[in-house]
């Protein structure tokens, strides 16, 4: 078992954060973030060539988190590996003590820094979830019996602000059907919209143990908030938050963003909107403990 799975099963409000591996071999900053966060959250996601930008691998960094006593959530995308490589990495993950896998399609290479690369997409995220389930049952995708099976807690993602939403909900249902144990959502900012989404999602997961964690990306500036609205599909920052970010001087914008994130965590928890949060502070992981403290969930996680 792992800490993240235990937290999910316990019914407590689950908190995870995110580690982005470095572009290069200098791991000092990343290790600092891992050591700072590993005991303050239930799980630590490790991104897999996030935004199709080549970086150090998610598998090895996840293994290092496990070695340091944290509970990694190994993000695996279908963009860079075919079904052989994915399964091989999943077996390797088990060997490294990784028990949580977040199954993603992966951003298209054209949005990243190696635009001429061939995207693989031999599996899609639904297949990857099914595949983890089969490895847990002791078989590989082709049906061959494994000498030693995996024990993965299987995660997936969903985009509550997808427009149109209906096709997204069908895919969500397919992921539940395929065997996902937990979901971390794309970043959400509009709590009313998210509540409406959760009603629809709960209708689909009714009768299952599936946990849904809201994705929260900390706003760091007004410009960043506007950029996300303009350029990132499936992310919607409402006008009220844009105004709030604009209401403070530039140097206080980050703190304002932290306040907003903390307020949302509090709201989601107190109203039992979802089962937890996944806090992303892209590159500014050192602010995560303070956000959790402001939200009143730090002590609970640490205990």
């Amino acid at each position: 078992m792992g800490k993240y799975r235990d937290a999910c099963k316990s019914g407590k409000f689950v908190v995870s954060a995110e580690i982005g591996p470095p572009k290069g071999t200098n791991v000092q900053g990343m290790l600092h973030h891992i050591d700072m966060l590993k005991d303050k959250v239930d799980g630590l996601n490790v991104t897999d060539n996030q935004s199709a930008v080549m970086r150090m691998g998610s598998l090895v960094v996840s293994g290092e988190i496990a070695r340091r006593g944290g509970d990694p959530i190994f993000q695996a995308t279908c963009r860079d590996r075919n079904r052989l490589a994915l399964q091989s990495d999943l077996l390797s993950a088990a060997f490294l003590g990784i028990t949580n896998v977040l199954c993603l399609t992966g951003d298209h290479p054209v949005v990243g820094d190696h635009k001429e690369a061939k995207g693989v997409f031999d599996f899609d995220s639904v297949h990857l979830i099914q595949c983890c389930r089969r490895l847990n049952e002791g078989y590989d995708w082709a049906g061959n019996e494994l000498d030693g099976k995996t024990d993965f807690f299987i995660g997936a993602v969903v985009t509550p602000e997808a427009d149109p939403l209906e096709p997204q909900l069908y895919k969500f249902a397919q992921k539940v059907e395929a065997g996902a144990d937990f979901f971390q959502t794309q970043a959400v900012y509009d709590m009313d919209n998210f509540q409406r989404f959760m009603e629809k999602a709960r209708a689909i997961t009714e009768g299952t143990e599936v946990k849904i964690m809201a994705g929260l990306v900390v706003l760091t500036s007004l410009g960043m908030a506007k950029y996300m609205n303009r350029a990132v599909p499936g992310i919607f920052v409402p006008d009220s938050l844009l105004e709030e970010m604009a209401s403070v001087p530039k140097e206080e914008a980050l703190y304002k963003g932290m306040e907003i994130a903390a307020r949302h965590i509090r709201f989601l928890r107190e109203n039992k909107v979802c089962d937890g949060v996944h806090v992303m502070a892209i590159g500014k992981e050192e602010i995560v403990p303070e956000i959790l403290h402001m939200a009143g969930v730090l002590e609970e996680v640490a205990s």
Binding site: T105, H108, D122, V126, H127, V157, D163, P167, P233
Partner: protein
């Protein structure tokens, strides 16, 4: 229709470095429609090459450049010019280019880039709807192909890059999953959307694809072949 576009003339010229006598081959089928290798484009290329100081020893526009026997026959018919040529410049898809390869031992060079199998929307407006994957899945998706029309070829619904009905990869292009979803809705088949589709079997066509079926002649009903 195989969709191609002209290579920049500078690139063509560079590939012809050291070759003075050129034989230009077009195609009467796809490259004519795409205006990359029809009679007009072959004449245009001849003029450009001559302007650049090359000698164009001959030109042909086979009915379909992918028909190897036809291309060979035309080259035999133009034997004198073909023998003088130092290089063949082919204004046809990669298949046509390799038909010429099969008909000569000399240097063969492509004059166009082959893009995709395209549907003709209107004159000079082409859209890829089929990518020849070897095992047709259109029945499951309201005859809208996700293998081809989703930028990632996903088989079980949209990714997070779906954006107001368009694709994150290219805002000019529709998200195939919105099209598929709407189509299945029109057909009253939304219940099928929960069905999980297996990954593609990429072993159906091992590259290079090869099909040589033996056809039985049924009392003269089958025609064609050599005249």
């Amino acid at each position: 229709m195989i969709i191609s576009k002209k290579k920049p003339f500078e690139e063509v010229l560079k590939s012809l470095e050291g070759k003075e006598r050129v034989f230009v081959v077009g195609c009467g089928e796809c490259a004519t429609v795409t205006q990359t290798g029809g009679e007009n484009e072959v004449a245009e290329m001849k003029a450009l090459l001559e302007e650049a100081g090359k000698t164009v020893v001959g030109t042909i526009v086979p009915e379909a450049a992918c028909h190897e026997l036809d291309v060979k026959r035309l080259l035999r018919k133009n034997r004198d010019a073909a023998e003088q040529a130092e290089a063949f410049l082919v204004l046809s898809c990669g298949a046509g280019c390799q038909s010429v390869r099969a008909g000569t031992d000399k240097t063969v060079l492509p004059g166009v880039d082959t893009l995709f199998l395209g549907n003709i929307q209107r004159a000079m407006d082409f859209l890829e709807k089929c990518s020849l994957c070897g095992q047709c899945v259109l029945a499951d998706y309201g005859a809208i192909c996700p293998v081809t029309r989703c930028a990632k070829g996903l088989l079980n619904g949209p990714c997070g890059g779906t954006n107001h009905g368009k694709c994150e990869v290219d805002p000019e292009k529709d998200c195939a999953w919105v099209l598929i979803h709407e189509q299945l809705k029109k057909e009253g088949r939304l219940d099928e959307r929960r069905q999980i589709h297996s990954p593609k079997n990429w072993n159906v066509v091992n590259r290079p694809g090869k099909l040589a079926e033996v056809r039985e002649k049924v009392s003269g009903a089958v025609s064609g072949g050599e005249e």
